[in-house]
């Protein structure tokens, strides 16, 4: 009988010991829900590996698929999920996720400010509260084939054709310019010139490739056109200003290029990947694209048709000069998490010079301060240009970080793509979007 008692006691003790060990190891591990795919994922994996080797607390990465990432994350946090402790943040959806996140203003100390500029921290701030540390800055560049544009600038026969096409389509004879000096008329004229159905001697089938799928991220790319003419969602008094010359001009640029077939006929189903495939195939002369594409294009052997033969510059200018939408993705703390301290420890590590230098070297695009950038960006032209372009041309629409910003972009995508496809006239599209913005900002 005593033996049985001893056996039961030892089993119970063993069970307790196992449970205690399990609970210790469980509390020491945090899960980080981050943006999947591309150079950012590869870089973050290496940074997390380093963290796990050098820290008592361990972090594990979790990736949803990129499709509808934010919807899945929203459903999880709204349901009180504790499956991840650190979660993704984005400038344009901070207002939507802020109620589910832990404020981290107290973490923005001297070390963090020596890693990220205050401007970068502001992209993770909503109504004065900081919710995340910015790990990836995104903006848009004009990507173009250097060989084609250089030839256009030096070949008199090409220039004569260019003048003829611009006179026919834009009503004025134009001369080619260097890509960094383009305005939107130069963009249109060059796109038409390099389109084979318009200029049979064009070395490529298409001048440009536009991303026109009914997708909110495509509107972020397009809105550089409207912003460059002074377009904004609201004025300083909060009045909706979509019904403006700037928006009409911006919309018309895409419509005209699409109707002239200067972009592939299936552009209405194009987003990031399709546009990269088009430019990377060597069949498109130039296009505007997210900054993240640069890291992919410079990988040796990935895009042989354009390898060593393309570069990037600012987007074309409107009356207000070149403008680009920009935002940052970052990491913040899930308010539902039981491991707030461990999550804070991980974010503190991310805010160090060491972590972000490593992230940058491994292919990430963190908005770090100049000393870090100059020390580690090396030959990454995109990184060297990002801080400058954000400061000079960056534009966040008035209301672009509010809770309804996501819905506004989605509504624009629906109405503006309908206009581009010929299903709706421009006035109806603008009225629809204006009404929607009024309703969203009135909530």
């Amino acid at each position: 009988m005593n033996k049985i008692k001893a056996l039961i006691n030892s089993l119970v003790a063993g069970l307790f010991a196992t449970l205690t060990l399990l609970s210790i190891s469980a509390s020491a591990n945090i899960t980080v829900l981050a943006w999947p795919g591309g150079p950012a994922e590869e870089a973050l994996r290496k940074v997390v590996d380093h963290y796990n080797k050098t820290s008592d607390s361990k972090a594990e990465l979790l990736y949803f698929s990129r499709d509808n990432f934010f919807d899945k994350m929203l459903a999880d946090v709204a349901a009180g999920s504790k499956d991840f402790d650190v979660m993704l943040t984005a400038t344009y959806s901070l207002g939507k996720y802020a109620p589910f996140m832990t404020p981290i203003n107290d973490m923005v100390n001297e070390e963090v400010l020596s890693t990220f500029s205050q401007g970068a921290i502001d992209t993770q701030t909503y109504q004065g509260t900081v919710y995340g540390l910015p790990t990836d800055l995104s903006l848009h560049f004009l990507y173009y084939r250097e060989d084609l544009i250089n030839e256009l600038l030096s070949n008199s026969s090409w220039q004569a054709t260019y003048a003829k096409i611009s006179a026919e389509y834009l009503g004025k004879e134009m001369k080619p310019k260097a890509a960094e000096d383009w305005n939107w008329d130069d963009f249109i004229a060059s796109a038409l010139f390099f389109t084979r159905s318009i200029n049979p001697d064009s070395p490529v089938p298409y001048g440009t490739v536009l991303q026109m799928k009914n997708l909110l991220f495509n509107i972020m790319i397009w809105q550089g056109t409207a912003a460059s003419y002074g377009g904004d969602w609201r004025d300083a008094d909060g009045n909706i200003t979509i019904d403006s010359d700037a928006y009409r001009r911006g919309l018309k640029i895409y419509k005209d290029l699409f109707d002239a077939e200067a972009t592939p006929a299936d552009s209405l189903s194009y987003e990031y990947a399709e546009a990269n495939a088009a430019f990377g195939s060597g069949k498109v002369a130039f296009y505007t694209q997210w900054s993240a594409a640069y890291a992919d294009f410079i990988k040796p052997g990935e895009y042989p048709a354009i390898e060593g033969n393309f570069t990037i510059t600012n987007q074309p200018a409107g009356d207000m000069g070149p403008k680009t939408h920009f935002h940052s993705l970052g990491l913040g703390i899930n308010a539902n998490s039981d491991k707030q301290d461990e999550a804070r420890a991980f974010l503190s590590f991310l805010g160090t010079n060491e972590a972000m230098s490593m992230f940058l070297k491994e292919g990430g695009q963190p908005p770090v301060t100049d000393p870090i950038m100059n020390a580690h960006a090396g030959d990454r032209l995109d990184m060297l240009m990002m801080a400058e372009h954000t400061a000079k041309y960056g534009k966040v629409m008035n209301g672009g970080t509010e809770g309804g910003a996501f819905a506004i972009y989605a509504n624009m995508a629906e109405n503006f793509t309908a206009y581009w496809a010929g299903d709706m006239d421009v006035d109806t599209a603008i009225v629809n979007v204006t009404k929607f913005l009024e309703a969203e900002f009135a909530k």
């Binding site: 299936d266 195939s281 819905a407």
Partner: protein
């Protein structure tokens, strides 16, 4: 040994209990929760509801003109896809039945498309149809056809074609099973009476497998009507709302516009309408079969 009808009914009930319990948990509970949500002012920030909303969510849902656009698209999509799927499946049954009797393994090959998830199908076609990397535009160009299958004039047909390509095998397997269940003696008797070939197929086989045709038509219509995955992956419901089905509409209402109450109310209305149609549809099929 045959059982009397009362014992048979009792045994049938026992088998049904399991199914009923499963359905109560898997469908009943979410349906009740949704019913409750539809009468409350729910938001992502307060999933338990900020107050009783009465029929407000239903009023908003049914009063939105975008709903009727999406409903119209889904109906058209469902009808056209179903007609093609059932039509092609019937044609395949009549033409391939003798071959499949000799080589039944071919049936498995024909079933391959339905093994692929619709979302994956959408991603595959994003690659296959791409003008720069896709094999279909590549081959069409080689043959001298310069058609862009995802262009604004073709997009509606392309998304229907993808649905038909994926789900015709489902209609085919049901109709083939019905065809193969017909006794061989029937064919012999028909042949003696002079009914062979097309006459035999149209006058004898077609009426005998008609209950299966009704059922498969019904199932395929309901399934195509609520299409989501491949259209969402390929077009996002666009351009504009040209390919926005009712499922995509509800999804966007829920996630992009955060109109939880309205979208749940709409889902509930559609559920009730579908169940009513299903009830009367099946009743009709059973009555036809009995007569």
């Amino acid at each position: 040994m045959s059982l009397n009808p009362q014992t048979e009914r009792q045994q049938a009930k026992k088998f049904l209990y399991g199914l009923c319990i499963f359905l109560a948990f898997m469908l009943g509970f979410p349906s009740l929760a949704n019913l409750w949500f539809s009468f409350n002012d729910v938001t992502f920030h307060n999933l338990t509801g900020e107050g009783f909303a009465g029929f407000e969510n239903y009023r908003k849902a049914l009063g939105n003109p975008k709903l009727w656009e999406a409903l119209g698209y889904s109906l058209r999509f469902g009808l056209v896809a179903t007609i093609f799927e059932v039509g092609i499946a019937l044609f395949m049954v009549f033409t391939l039945h003798p071959l499949l009797l000799r080589k039944p393994w071919l049936t498995a090959v024909l079933m391959l498309p339905i093994m692929v998830s619709p979302a994956l199908m959408g991603i595959m076609y994003r690659l296959i149809l791409n003008e720069f990397t896709g094999i279909i535009p590549g081959y069409l160009n080689l043959l001298g056809f310069h058609v862009t299958l995802m262009s604004r004039s073709m997009i509606q047909y392309t998304v229907i074609a993808i649905e038909v390509l994926q789900w015709t095998p489902f209609a085919f397997i049901i109709l083939l099973t019905a065809r193969q269940s017909l006794p061989y003696e029937l064919e012999e008797a028909a042949a003696i009476d002079g009914a062979m070939g097309l006459k035999y197929s149209l006058r004898i086989v077609l009426p005998l497998i008609s209950p299966a045709i009704y059922i498969v038509t019904f199932i395929r219509f309901i399934d195509s009507f609520r299409v989501f995955d491949h259209i969402f992956v390929l077009t996002g419901g666009g351009p504009g709302s040209r390919t926005t089905s009712i499922s995509i509409y509800i999804y966007k209402l829920f996630f992009q516009r955060s109109e939880l109450g309205e979208s749940v109310a709409l889902s509930f209305v559609l559920l009730v309408v579908s169940l009513t149609l299903l009830y009367f549809g099946l009743k009709l099929v059973v009555r036809k079969e009995q007569s």
